[in-house]
């Protein structure tokens, strides 16, 4: 087992502890199902043998009704137990999944910005959802069967010790241990491949994206056949390995069944021997091997349990760090912010150098402290670090040198949520959630009146378009805001920023996609709102903004010829 296993197990324990009542219920019902199944088989064998003996006159008295009543009870309780076991276990898992989604969302939200960016690439996202779904196998298909198998084994062992000489118990215990060992060995052997398989699949996905996304280029440069052949080769290799792994699964299942069958045979031969020696009566001699055979269903679930244990642990390893991130976020309450607007801490930067790598700074050093009511207009051709500058000023990217501070506090030391109590940031790459206009304009923690929302829409010249829809403020913007045009998306976000009502406002190309008259109108309407705020505005067309606003033209980046 790998080093992280213990931590992963602890994590899984924490996750599922919340619903442990449900799980114990499901496990108990599972054990009841299996024990009833074993009893059904064993009792039937005993019953038939006893009747045969009685019919032949070898047994003096036989009460037909008690054992047949027992058979009926076992049959009915098995069916009922299985039905409720399924209900309870699914209920439990779905409850845990809901908990888990909430947990991992919180964890993800607490990660630093760069890490979240990595998550935005499609693969990690889908893997995260897949991982969360994989975790549910742990209580139901791993721990449950193991606990229920142990319980069933203990019950049958008890009966064997009670009815028969000690070797009977030894045979049962051996078959239990043997199946556990055989299935564990085979599952681990197969599992070693599964990690490589997961990676191969992710790699294949990248290749497929390149093939379809870049098909025009591949055809133009006559590389499409080559790429196709490579993908086929890789897929073939991958599928072959997957087939080997499946063979391990098939093999371990049949081997476990064979082990159980062999134990039953050994038990039969032993019991018949004991009967001949007068140590057992005949009906018990038949009951014992049938009881052993009944263990087949119980032990048969163990290979699958081992198999899934590995998958769940791997998934847990990947999800786990999210939880860690969530618990290590500093409490936001520590940061006290002064409320009156006049005393609101001002954003200022000193000796600021920005960029992604120390040896290749994009811009700087730079001193900035925009005055309230006088938005600072930043312009310059693309690639000169405008957007990076706003990222840094919003505290989402650490500066390479120098400081950005809010009042007396370095931005890096202010918790995220507290920082956004002061700073509104409208970035260039905008991703709006798929929900209604109302929930975008007014997130749940604030209750703004409809009148306020309409006013904000009016300010960004969007109210008319919204009135034109049947749903009004309940209009859904679709995935990625697909039901809005690009310009409408930006203006909607701008309206949300207006309603956020924070003292520092950072806007990256807020008016792109607007024609000049509309832009003039929007700027005009926003002036009163901008009056008592610090604002930094990035644009490629500074000429269209009021001339009294201060300008900053970014020079060519360092190290660029």
């Amino acid at each position: 087992m790998r080093n992280g296993t213990r931590a992963e197990l602890a994590f899984l324990h924490r996750v599922f502890r919340q619903r442990r009542g449900w799980y114990w219920g499901a496990w108990g019902l599972l054990a009841l199902t299996w024990i009833a199944g074993i009893a059904l088989l064993a009792l039937s064998g005993w019953f038939i043998t006893a009747t045969a003996l009685a019919g032949a006159g070898l047994l003096a008295t036989l009460d037909l009704y008690v054992p047949s009543g027992g058979i009926r009870t076992a049959a009915i309780s098995r069916t009922l137990a299985r039905y409720f076991e399924r209900l309870v276990s699914h209920e439990a898992v779905l409850r845990s999944l809901a908990d888990l989604r909430g947990r991992s969302f919180r964890g993800l939200a607490a990660l630093p910005m760069e890490r979240i960016r990595a998550y935005r690439s499609g693969d990690l996202q889908t893997r995260l959802t897949g991982d969360i779904d994989t975790l549910d196998a742990m209580p139901l298909r791993v721990v449950g069967p193991m606990i229920a198998a142990a319980l069933s084994l203990v019950v049958t062992l008890g009966i064997a010790v009670w009815l028969a000489p000690w070797p009977a118990a030894v045979v049962l215990a051996t078959s239990g241990v043997a199946t556990l060992a055989v299935s564990a060995v085979l599952a681990l052997a197969g599992q070693r491949r599964s990690h490589a398989l997961v990676q191969a699949r992710a790699g294949e996905r990248v290749g497929l994206f390149d093939f379809i996304g870049g098909l025009a280029e591949l055809l133009a440069y006559d590389r499409a056949r080559e790429h196709e052949a490579r993908l086929r080769r890789e897929n073939d290799h991958y599928a072959r390995r997957q087939r080997t792994q499946e063979a391990f699964g098939v093999g371990s299942e049949q081997i476990v069944q064979a082990v159980v069958g062999a134990s039953a045979l050994v038990m039969l031969v032993l019991a018949l021997g004991w009967y001949r020696d007068g140590m057992l009566d005949a009906s018990v001699a038949v009951l014992l091997p049938l009881m052993t055979l009944g263990l087949g269903e119980v032990l048969g679930s163990l290979p699958g349990a081992w198999w899934r244990a590995g998958e769940s642990l791997e998934a847990a390893g990947r999800v786990q760090h999210l939880e860690v991130a969530a618990t290590h976020t500093p409490a936001t309450a520590e940061y006290v912010d002064p409320t009156p607007r006049d005393e609101a801490p001002a954003l200022h930067a000193h000796g600021l150098t920005i960029g992604f790598r120390r040896e290749r700074p994009l811009l700087g050093p730079l001193d900035l402290e925009p005055a309230r009511g006088y938005p600072l207009v930043i312009s310059g051709a693309s690639g000169h670090g405008k957007s990076t500058l706003l990222d840094t000023l919003a505290g989402e990217l650490p500066p390479l040198a120098g400081t950005v501070a809010l009042g007396h506090d370095d931005l890096a030391r202010i918790p995220t949520d507290a920082r956004y109590r002061h700073i509104s940031y409208l970035p260039q790459g905008l991703q709006l959630p798929d929900t209604t206009l109302r929930s975008i304009l007014s997130p749940a923690h604030r209750s703004l009146s409809d009148a306020a929302l309409w006013e904000a829409l009016e300010q960004v010249d969007l109210a008319e378009a919204v009135r034109g829809t049947d749903e009004g403020l309940d209009y859904r913007i679709g995935e990625g805001g697909a039901s809005l045009s690009g310009g409408q998306r930006r203006r909607l976000a701008l309206a949300a920023v207006v309603l956020q009502d924070r003292p520092v406002v950072l806007l990256d190309e807020p008016f792109s996609g607007l024609d000049t008259p509309t832009q003039q109108r929007v700027v005009e309407r926003l002036l009163p709102w901008l009056q008592d705020r610090q604002c930094i505005l990035v644009t490629h067309a500074p000429g269209q903004l009021p001339a009294r606003w201060p300008r900053l033209e970014l020079a060519k980046p360092l190290g660029r010829s």
Binding site: I255, R276, Q431
Partner: protein, 575 residues
């Protein structure tokens, strides 16, 4: 507000229904099905023999004057046991082999189909993400059908039949009991099956919707954090999950109930057989064969009774696999259907103009080209004539939907016109291609540039091409020079810089016909001007032929020739 245009008439072209489609896939690989049927039969016969052996051993020990030799029974039993499970393993492996063969053939077809359809046709049908999902997940969804459902369907006929014959031979009354119990099972199975299919579909939909919600919120985490809506969203995520739980449980309760009923009936049937045998042995029944039933017969039939019902239960379970595969087949069948309408690059029977009689042969000559997409009333391009001469700078203009991209795709050979001919100069068979979002392949900058040619391109040549394309190697966005890792969301490069990489790649290819599809529409005006400066300077210096589809005025201004594709004005147009 603008609505998304998202109706794809072509996608609903389901000429083959999913059931026959799935069966047609297995035809070439029938031998695996034969193997699995044979293994099932062997396993069943071994099971029957084993039951007989055990019953005989018990009967013999209890009643026979001469007790059977126990070690011999153990040995024979172990052999039969090994035979049974080996045969079962073989059956499962045969199923997996069948699934493997079908899946690999499908995937190879999907790849070939995509290449043959070409980018222009694919763009109307699918996205890269959806296509990859189809290739990986949907094809994988077929596994259960071939690996479990089909073998289970064989077993559900073979195994009960064999057991019935064995029982009939010994005690026809018990066999009759089993036989009468059996028709109950298919009836219930139909109920379970219908339930399973419905549940499968509903649950799948709900899962997708929920997963969609969760993914959407992760994707928009930046916005939510800036809007300080994290806590509210977390509550929303949890609430949605619970909502889905309640819905799912409602459907599951019904499904579990129907399978519980089925299980109950098979338990009752086994119980009835057991009680009949018990009473017959006791001497309480003396009708028909019941009078002379022995412990051997009784035990033998009792041991086989659960084996009689087991395949029925397994078959019911594999019904879920069938439902999943049918759903997958519904999406796969149209994707693999042979193309209709304008065909892709592989089918184009192009006339390569022979450079005859020293006449000035145009690089591209389109005559009477009509492109008519199926499901559309009017053709996208109608009776179009066009000649592109060496060194021409041609802008294809017109409002969106007027067929600019279609015409460019015809020029590239990605589409073959419905009617009309395309002749190309031998030198114009190869071309460079740049579209709206240049595709950067996963790998280093060097890998992306090397794609342009087969022979190894030297670092110096690459650096020169990049310099000429306006993205010098010492730019801050290329911290590792040619080894900078790019691709997948083109890390670190802006839209303009990605286009410049594409320009450098086109330069390195040495091809002199450049086809550009909206090359600047993802760029801001400053970047657009800078890129166009570079492009046209290079075109002058190298005598390139440019065909640019664009609605940007900045491009129209720079091109000497323009072809205006106004909609709804069919007729011949000349450039």
């Amino acid at each position: 507000m603008t609505q998304v245009p998202g109706t794809d008439a072509e996608a609903t072209d389901a000429r083959t229904s999913p059931g026959p489609w799935l069966r047609a896939r297995q035809q070439p690989h029938r031998r695996w099905l034969v193997l699995s049927a044979a293994s099932t039969l062997v396993a069943t016969l071994a099971t029957i023999a084993l039951a007989g052996l055990v019953a005989w051993a018990v009967h013999g020990t209890l009643f026979a004057p001469e007790a059977p030799y126990l070690p011999g029974i153990l040995l024979a039993g172990l052999v039969l046991l090994a035979l049974r499970y080996a045969a079962q393993a073989l059956r499962d492996l045969a199923g997996h082999r069948l699934a493997f063969a079908v899946k690999q053939e499908l995937r190879a077809n999907l790849l070939r189909q995509a290449r043959q359809a070409g980018p222009a046709r694919l763009a109307g049908q699918t996205t890269a993400g959806a296509w990859a999902e189809q290739f990986q997940t949907r094809v994988e969804d077929l596994t259960g059908y071939y690996a479990r459902y089909l073998p289970a369907r064989q077993a559900v006929i073979l195994t009960p039949l064999a057991i019935l014959v064995a029982a009939l031979w010994l005690d026809w009354l018990a066999a009759l009991l089993l036989l009468f119990a059996a028709p109950l099972i298919p009836a219930f199975m139909a109920i379970v099956g219908m339930g399973a299919e419905q549940i499968h579909r509903r649950q799948q939909q709900e899962e997708n919707r929920l997963a969609g919600h969760f993914l959407d919120r992760i994707r928009t985490l930046d916005w939510l954090r800036r809007a300080r809506a994290i806590a509210a969203t977390e509550a929303e995520v949890v609430e949605r999950s619970h909502q889905q739980r309640r819905l799912t449980m409602r459907t599951l309760r019904v499904a579990f109930l129907s399978s519980a009923i089925m299980e109950f009936f098979s338990a009752v049937a086994i119980g009835m057989v057991a009680i009949y045998i018990g009473f017959a042995l006791f001497g309480a029944i003396d009708y028909g064969p019941a009078g002379d039933i022995t412990l051997f017969t009784g035990l033998f039939i009792l041991l086989l009774a659960p084996e009689y019902f087991l395949p029925l239960r397994q078959f019911a379970q594999s019904y879920h696999d069938r439902a999943g595969a049918l759903a997958a087949a519904e999406t796969l069948a149209p994707a693999l259907a042979s193309p209709t309408g304008p065909v892709g690059p592989e089918h184009s029977p192009e006339a390569t103009a022979a450079p005859d009689e020293g006449a000035v042969v145009p690089w591209l000559q389109l005559k009477g080209v009509t492109v008519h997409y199926p499901g559309q009333r009017t053709p996208t391009l109608a009776e179009l004539d066009l000649a592109v001469h060496t060194g021409a700078h041609l802008a294809l203009t017109g409002p969106s939907g007027s067929g600019k991209s279609t015409l460019l795709a015809v020029c590239a050979g990605f589409l073959t016109p419905t009617t009309g001919t395309v002749q190309r100069h031998p030198l114009a068979r190869q071309f460079a291609w740049i579209d709206q979002d240049a595709h950067l392949f996963h790998g280093s900058l060097r890998d992306n540039l090397q794609l342009a040619r087969r022979d190894t391109i030297g670092d110096a040549e690459m650096a020169t091409a990049l310099q000429q394309a306006g993205l010098p190697l010492d730019a801050p966005e290329l911290p590792d020079g040619l080894d900078t890792a790019i691709g997948e969301a083109r890390r670190g490069l802006s839209g303009g810089q990605a286009q410049r990489v594409a320009v450098a790649r086109a330069l390195l290819s040495g091809h002199r016909l450049w086809l550009l599809d909206e090359p600047t529409s993802a760029l801001d005006p400053d970047t657009e001007q800078a890129l166009l400066d570079t492009l046209f300077r290079l075109a002058e210096a190298r005598g390139l032929t440019l065909v640019i589809a664009s609605h940007h005025a900045a491009i129209h201004e720079r091109c000497l020739q323009r072809l205006d594709l106004a909609p709804a004005t069919p007729g011949a147009r000349h450039a």
